[in-house]
C-alpha cells in the first residue's frame, strides 16, 4: 500500500517534471501527437524513435565495426543512432584519409599479389582484439576474401598499419578470428588452389589443391603481425568456411566448418562437361565436416620444428596434423555457414543453410570423444571423424536458412534466418537454462527483418560477456525500404531492441548502407575505446606511432637541395598557411617532401594535395608525413589544403614550380 503510494507520487513527480520541461520550450505531448499524426507514425514508431533518436551532442552507447565488403574498407557506426561515424581505409585507397595517394602506399604494396598491384579488397570478418575473451578496444583485424590478406588496424588512430598477404592461398573466408588473448589471428582458405595459387588442372583437384589454416602471430607490443612466428596447418581441400576461436572451456580450440566435402570441381557450362554446377555439386552430401583444431598443440608442433617450408612459409603437413592430434572433424549439417562458440565456451553452434535446425555441439563431449578416440571413421584424407551422436548436444528448429548465431547475457542465442528473412531468438540449455523463463533448447521468437539477412551482431555478442540490449541485422537486400537510387540499392542495417526477455524483440531503426557490401560486424561498448583526439605530440608519425626525428618543425622549414637531382622539402601547415609557400625544383629532381601539421586543436586537420602528381594527404593535428616523387612533369602546380580548416582556408595554398630541364 505504502509502496504503491510512493510509486504513484513518484510517477506524479516525473510527470510534473516532464510537463515543466515541456512548458519551458512551449511544447506538450499534444504537439508530439500532432507531428506523429502528420507523418503517419504509430505509438510503436514513436517508442522506437525515443529509443534511437540521438539529439545533437548526445553520444552513442555502442560502436559497430563493420566490414565494408568489396569497398575494401571498414565502417564505424554508432548504436543506437545508426549513424556512420567514419570509414577506415584498408585495402582500398581513399582520398579523404589520404590513404594510398602518397601515404600508406608501402602498406598497400605489402598486399600486392605476385608483384601485381591490388587496390581493392573484399573485407568480410572484422575481429576486435580480445583480452580474456572480451574486447579490449585496442586493435582491429580484418580479412580480404578476394586475395587472402589480413590487415591490422590500430584503434588509437583508426588507421591501417599492416597488410599481410597469405603466401599459400589466394582466397580466404575464415578470417579474421582471434583467440581469447589475441595471440594469433586465424585465417583459413576458402576456394582452394594449389599452394601459392600455382597452375594445376582441375582434374588434379584432390592431389594438388590444398586447404589450410594460417596462424598469424600478433605481436601486441609492436602492433604488428610477426611473420617469423607465423605458420600454417594443412587441411583437406574442402572449402573451409567461417570459423570461431574457443574460449574458457574450449580455450585452445579453433572451430571451422567446411563445404564441398564432395570435392566438386564444377565445370558447368563448359562444352562436354558432365559435372553439375558448383551450387549442386557442393550440396550433395547430407553432411559436411566441422573442423576441430587444437591450435595450442599446433603451436607446440611448430615450435618443435615439425614443419616444412612451402612458398617460404612454415606448414605443418596434414599427416603430421593428424598424427599429432591437431585436427579432428565431425559431421555437421551440409553447406553450413556460421560456427559460433557460446559465451562460456561450452557449446559450439553450427547452422546448415539447407537445414532448418541449428546443431549444438558440447565441448565437453568433444574433448571426451577425442580422449577416447570415439571415431565413426576417417575421411578420405585420413582425418579422424568424431562420432556425431557422441558430440552433439542438441538440435533446435529455428527456421529456414539459418546462418550465423550470436548470444545475449540471458541464455538466449540469436540466429539469422536468410530464407525466412528473420532473426530467431532461442534458448540455450546447460548452465544457461536458468537465465530465462523459457525451456531449454527452444525457439522463443522470430522477428521478420527486411530482407535476406546475412550476419547479425549482438552487443559484444561473440565475447565471454555479451551485453544484450541491441542486435543488428545485416540485411543484404532492402528492396522497398528506401528511395530507389537506380538499380544498385543499399543494404539495410536494422537495429533490434533485445533488452526484454520473451517474445518482444522489435526492429527499431533502418539504416541504409550505401557503400560496399558489409558482411560481419562486431559491436563494442563505446567506453572501451580510447582513441586519441589529436596525435600525442607534434611531428607524430602514425606509421611508427612515435615522433619522427625528421619531422619539420616551426622555424625550421626549408627547401634543401641535396644533390644535383635531389631536393628535400621541410614544410609545416597551420591555420591558414603552409610554410614555405613556394617550392621550386628542377624537372627530373627526386623530391622528398616532409610536412607536419603543427596544430594542437581537436579536429584541426589539414589536407595537402598536389595536382598532376596524384598526391593527397590528410594531416591530422600533430601528424607528420613523408612523400617522395620524381618531378618529371614541368609546370606550375598550386598545392592547397583540401580540408576546410578555417575562415581563410581558400588562401591556404602555395605553388610547386617545376622548372623545365634544358
Amino acid at each position: 500500500m505504502r509502496i504503491q503510494k510512493i510509486k504513484q507520487s513518484g510517477i506524479a513527480v516525473v510527470g510534473l517534471l516532464a510537463l515543466t520541461a515541456g512548458s519551458v520550450f512551449g511544447q506538450s505531448m499534444s504537439d508530439v501527437e500532432k507531428a506523429a499524426k502528420e507523418r503517419g507514425l504509430s505509438t510503436q514508431d514513436l517508442l522506437a524513435a525515443a529509443k534511437t533518436y540521438t539529439p545533437t551532442g548526445m553520444k552513442d552507447e555502442y560502436v559497430i565495426f563493420s566490414s565494408g565488403g568489396h569497398s575494401g574498407q571498414v565502417f564505424v557506426i554508432g548504436v543506437p543512432s545508426m549513424r556512420i561515424l567514419r570509414t577506415i581505409a584498408v585495402f582500398t585507397p581513399e582520398p579523404w584519409q589520404g590513404w594510398g595517394y602518397g601515404v600508406g602506399d608501402d602498406i598497400l604494396d605489402a598486399g600486392n599479389v605476385s608483384g601485381k598491384e591490388n587496390r581493392w579488397g573484399d573485407t568480410h570478418h572484422p575481429a576486435l582484439s580480445e583480452t580474456d575473451g572480451d574486447y579490449d578496444g585496442e586493435w582491429l583485424f580484418i580479412n580480404d576474401k578476394a586475395n587472402a590478406r589480413i590487415a591490422v588496424i590500430d584503434l588509437r588512430d583508426f588507421e591501417t598499419k599492416q597488410i599481410v598477404k597469405n603466401p599459400l592461398f589466394i582466397n580466404d573466408h575464415g578470417g579474421a578470428f582471434v583467440p581469447p588473448n589475441t595471440e594469433y589471428i586465424f585465417e583459413t582458405a576458402q576456394y582452394n588452389v594449389p599452394w601459392g595459387a600455382e597452375y594445376a588442372p582441375m582434374s588434379e583437384y584432390k592431389e594438388n589443391f590444398r586447404g589450410a589454416v594460417t596462424m598469424w602471430k600478433f605481436d601486441r607490443k609492436k602492433g604488428r603481425i610477426d611473420m617469423d612466428k607465423s605458420f600454417a596447418v594443412e587441411l583437406p581441400p574442402y572449402w573451409q568456411d567461417i570459423a570461431d576461436a574457443g574460449k574458457l572451456e574450449s580455450d585452445g580450440f579453433f572451430f571451422l566448418n567446411s563445404i564441398n566435402t564432395e570435392l566438386a570441381t564444377g565445370g558447368f557450362g563448359v562444352e562436354g562437361a558432365k559435372n553439375p554446377p558448383f551450387e549442386a555439386g557442393v550440396s550433395m552430401n547430407a553432411t559436411d565436416y566441422l573442423h576441430i583444431i587444437d591450435w595450442k598443440k599446433a603451436e607446440k608442433v611448430f615450435q618443435a620444428g615439425k614443419f616444412t617450408n612451402i612458398k617460404d612459409f612454415p606448414v605443418i603437413s596434414l599427416q603430421d596434423a593428424i598424427a599429432e592430434g591437431i585436427l579432428h572433424v565431425t559431421p555437421e549439417p551440409r553447406s553450413p555457414h556460421g560456427v559460433d562458440v557460446a559465451p562460456k565456451g561450452d557449446f559450439v553452434v553450427v547452422s546448415g543453410k539447407l537445414d532448418p535446425h541449428t546443431t549444438i555441439y558440447s565441448v565437453e563431449k568433444i574433448k571426451k570423444a577425442i580422449a577416447t578416440k570415439n571415431y565413426s571413421g576417417k575421411d578420405e584424407f585420413g582425418v579422424p571423424v568424431l562420432d556425431f551422436d557422441s558430440v552433439m548436444e542438441a538440435q533446435v528448429e529455428v527456421g529456414l536458412g539459418p546462418l550465423h548465431t550470436q548470444f545475449g547475457p540471458d541464455g538466449y542465442a540469436y540466429t539469422s534466418l536468410f530464407l525466412d528473412s528473420a532473426v530467431a531468438r532461442w534458448t540455450l540449455g546447460g548452465d544457461y537454462g536458468n537465465l530465462n523463463p523459457e525451456p531449454d533448447w527452444t525457439l522463443v521468437q522470430k522477428t521478420p527483418v527486411q530482407y535476406n539477412i546475412g550476419h547479425l551482431g549482438a552487443a559484444e555478442g561473440d565475447t565471454v560477456d555479451p551485453d544484450g540490449k541491441y542486435l543488428v541485422a545485416y540485411n543484404k537486400w532492402s528492396v522497398d525500404r528506401f528511395i530507389h537510387t537506380g538499380p544498385l540499392l543499399p543494404q539495410n542495417f536494422q537495429l533490434l531492441d533485445i533488452s526484454k526477455q520473451g517474445t518482444e524483440m522489435p526492429v527499431i531503426y533502418d539504416m541504409p548502407m550505401g557503400i560496399g557490401e558489409p558482411h560481419y560486424a562486431q559491436i563494442i561498448k563505446a567506453d572501451k575505446l580510447h582513441p586519441w583526439s589529436v596525435y600525442p605530440e607534434i611531428g607524430w608519425d602514425p606509421m611508427t606511432q612515435a615522433v619522427d626525428p625528421w619531422a619539420p618543425r616551426p622555424k625550421m622549414e626549408r627547401v634543401e637541395r641535396k644533390g644535383e637531382h635531389e631536393v628535400e622539402v621541410f614544410m609545416t601547415s597551420v591555420r591558414s598557411h603552409f610554410t614555405p609557400e613556394h617550392v621550386t625544383v628542377k624537372q627530373g629532381d627526386k623530391v622528398t617532401w616532409r610536412i607536419t601539421n603543427t596544430e594542437r586543436a581537436i579536429d584541426a586537420t589539414h589536407g595537402f594535395s598536389i595536382p598532376v602528381y596524384n598526391i593527397t594527404l590528410s594531416l591530422e593535428a600533430g601528424e607528420t608525413a613523408k612523400i617522395e616523387f620524381i618531378a618529371d612533369t614541368p609546370g606550375t602546380f598550386p598545392f592547397y589544403c583540401t580540408e576546410f580548416c578555417s575562415a581563410l582556408h581558400l588562401e591556404m595554398m602555395g605553388y610547386l614550380m617545376v622548372e623545365p630541364a634544358e
Binding site: V574, R575, S576, R600, A601, A647, L648
Partner: protein, 218 residues
C-alpha cells in the same frame, strides 16, 4: 647598536612585558606569518584565468597565468591571434615572469623582516607586498593594451578587427569570442594576504605605538 638602526627597528619589548602581553605583541607577527604562507602557496596555484568562449570550441579555450608561466591553450590562442596580428603570448611580460618567483620570495623575506621592526618603518616593507595584487592587474592590463592596440597591420584579418583591450577582470568581446577573465586562487590568496597585512599593521600600531611614545617620553 647605532642609533639610526635603533630608530628603524623601534623599541624592544621587555621580557616581563612580553610574557604578560604575549597576544598583544604576538598578533602582528602571527598575522604576517599567515600572509607569508598565503603568498608562498600562491606561487604554485593559478593567479589569473581567461576563458574564451566561441561556438566552435564547446569546451572553451583556457588561458591561465601563474606568477612565472602561462598555461592552457596557449598554442591555439596564439594560432588564432596570428590572424589579427597579435604577437604570441609568450612574448608578453617576459621579465615579470622570469623574476616573479624571486620577487615573491623577496616579499616573504620583507614580511619576515617587517615582523621584527617595531616602528613605522615596518610599513615601508609591507606596503609593496600589500600592493602586489593591484600591481599584477595593472601590469596585466598594460600588457593586454600593448598587445591589443599594437596589431600587425599586415596580418590576414587586420582590416576586419579594430584594436581592442579585453578587461583584466570580467567579460569582453573579440570577434566571435567572448572573453571572461577572473582571478585565480593565487590572486585571491594574495588579496587576502594584503588584507591580513592591513590588519597586522593595525595591531602593530596598537602594540608598538604606545611603547614608542613612552620611550620618547622617557
Amino acid at each position: 647598536m647605532p642609533s639610526f638602526i635603533e630608530h628603524i627597528v623601534g623599541p624592544r619589548v621587555d621580557q616581563s612585558d612580553l610574557k604578560q602581553h604575549s597576544i598583544k605583541y604576538g598578533t602582528p607577527g602571527f598575522l604576517l606569518l599567515i600572509a607569508r604562507v598565503m603568498l608562498l602557496v600562491s606561487l604554485f596555484v593559478p593567479f589569473w584565468h581567461m576563458e574564451l568562449v566561441a561556438p566552435q570550441y564547446p569546451e572553451n579555450l583556457h588561458l591561465t597565468a601563474y606568477v612565472n608561466h602561462l598555461a592552457g591553450d596557449v598554442a591555439e590562442i596564439d594560432s588564432l591571434n596570428h590572424y589579427i596580428g597579435m604577437r604570441p603570448l609568450g612574448e608578453a611580460a617576459q621579465i615579470e615572469r622570469s623574476i616573479g618567483v624571486y620577487v615573491m620570495i623577496g616579499f616573504v623575506l620583507m614580511l619576515e623582516l617587517a615582523s621584527w621592526i617595531h616602528s613605522r618603518w615596518a610599513v615601508l616593507l609591507i606596503l609593496p607586498v600589500l600592493l602586489f595584487p593591484a600591481v599584477f592587474l595593472v601590469d596585466l592590463h598594460l600588457w593586454m593594451s600593448h598587445f591589443g592596440l599594437n596589431l600587425d597591420p599586415d596580418a590576414p584579418l587586420s582590416n576586419s578587427i579594430d584594436p581592442f583591450v579585453p578587461p583584466v577582470l570580467g567579460t569582453g568581446m573579440v570577434g566571435q569570442f567572448k572573453t571572461v577573465a577572473s582571478p585565480g586562487l593565487g590572486m585571491i590568496l594574495s588579496v587576502i594576504a594584503s588584507f591580513t597585512m592591513i590588519v597586522a599593521l593595525f595591531f602593530h600600531r596598537r602594540a608598538y605605538l604606545p611603547l614608542l611614545k613612552s620611550k620618547k617620553g622617557s
